[in-house]
Subunit: 244 residues, 2 copies
DNA sequence: CCATACTGTTCCGTGTCACGGAACAAAGTT
DNA sequence: AACTTTGTTCCGTGACACGGAACAGTATGG
């Protein structure tokens, strides 16, 4: 473990997650826990391959990774078929729209579209967050079977804000409400002053994704948003059913 | 060259570009030009790292690559700030919208948004095409300095369709028109039955990107589209000027 | 049912090339 | 100018990547 050259390269690349920011050789060496000459050599190789880029003393992730990452098949397909529905949802609400899938005990965001307003959020395309703190996550969790739900509920619940639900009993009740209504609500559990409403996307009998719309708390009006989110999720589910 | 373990791993991963489709061990071995046991061992390592995924006998690109690829900084920043303008452009035209940057003698697409209509195009997020055959490419080429233009014009011009411009003289004239008008037109040069109109995006005195709208030939009406494309490109340029 | 032609996998002796401490150079800091 | 930290080169050692060969599964078809 931690032996081969590939492992070391992977450790170096993962130093850039999630911050992505540029690092210098020494910082990389420290973060990766590898001796400096080793990082020097490997980073040089990675630059040669286009997986890292170097400007002066700064290393950053390279273009080749973007190219390869864009080809990851399951991600690509879902994103492509979902995009029109996300567009519809955006146009209907003019708010920030998300598409996410479950990966283990986390939600990974595949797409995120928004208008000119900033809306500071912890979500990022390709980034992951706890299932329990976000609208998309709760929608996924509520419809991914009781085993996973119990598994998640049995562990300490992470929190992103003071409003994140950390009490298993409260979370269980919330999830049951979601199962009944088919819609997940979230208020300031992922970011302060942001509320969110999400709906699951089904295909072939299982939950494959969820989409959501996030809005500033002041503008949050569930009655307006709920139908749009539900419509988009159902539309996407229908198309996925047809092709998959 | 072709020596170290990393190089071999890179060769294997690049087998998935641009088709992305799943491959079996033997196919990988052949495509990569590496002996079967070697690919077996390396692919196993790559799976362990999350760079590849394996379902039965099929190998495909893994989730970790998507995650890392989404963090590539220059790409991420530009995409994020451009998105609202792409949305505007999409809403104004309701047609397929592209954002691309130049990389060497090719255009790389960073974003591509569209509605429910399919519109078969060779462009793909993360994918690259010749500068000379696409609207975005021609816009980038026309505003990337005379050295690059001459360099490109001095080489054989690739073609994606029978309508792609392969005559250097004709291309030079087209580029000069683009320089004057600030808009690039393209008709069926990248895909049959698809026309396109593109505009460059400037920041800090250089051309950093271009955006375009692609429409079925039957619906192509430059007078409608040109102002929208120009507006979006100028808006994005202004914001980039402010923050870059 | 066995022959045939593939696949994917394990084995293992060989030799290469990755390794990282140490020494050096370059660039800041006080 | 003395000192600290960073980036880079060197090189002897030994771990481990290598891939041919042999084996084991799995589809085709006589």
């Amino acid at each position: 473990m931690g032996g081969s050259m590939l492992d070391k390269a992977a450790v170096i690349l993962e130093c850039f997650s999630p911050s992505g920011g540029p690092y210098r050789l020494s910082e990389l060496s420290e973060r990766a826990g590898l001796p400096k000459p080793t990082v020097h050599r490997l980073a040089g190789d990675l630059v040669r391959l286009g997986w890292l880029e170097r400007s002066g003393p700064q290393y950053r992730l390279g273009a080749k990774l973007f190219e390869l990452g864009s080809l990851v098949p399951h991600r690509l397909d879902l994103r492509e078929t979902a995009l029109p529905f996300l567009q519809d949802l955006f146009e209907a609400t003019r708010e920030t729209v998300h598409l996410g899938v479950r990966e283990g005990m986390e939600v990974v965001y595949l797409e995120r579209i928004h208008g000119h307003e900033a809306l500071r959020l912890p979500s990022r395309i390709g980034g992951s967050l706890p299932l329990t703190c976000t609208g998309v996550g709760k929608a996924l969790l509520a419809f991914s079977g009781p085993e996973l739900m119990e598994e998640v509920l049995s562990r300490p619940l992470p929190s992103l804000t003071p409003y994140s639900i950390t009490d298993p009993t409260r979370l269980r009740m919330a999830l049951e409400k979601i199962q009944v209504s088919g819609l997940a609500y979230e208020e300031q559990e992922a970011a302060l002053d942001v509320s969110c409403i999400a709906a699951p996307v089904f295909a072939g009998g299982t939950t494959v994704a969820a989409l959501s719309v996030a809005v500033p708390r002041s503008r949050f009006s569930p009655a307006q948003l709920a139908p749009a989110v539900r419509t988009a999720a159902l539309g996407l589910s229908r198309v996925l059913r047809g092709s998959g």
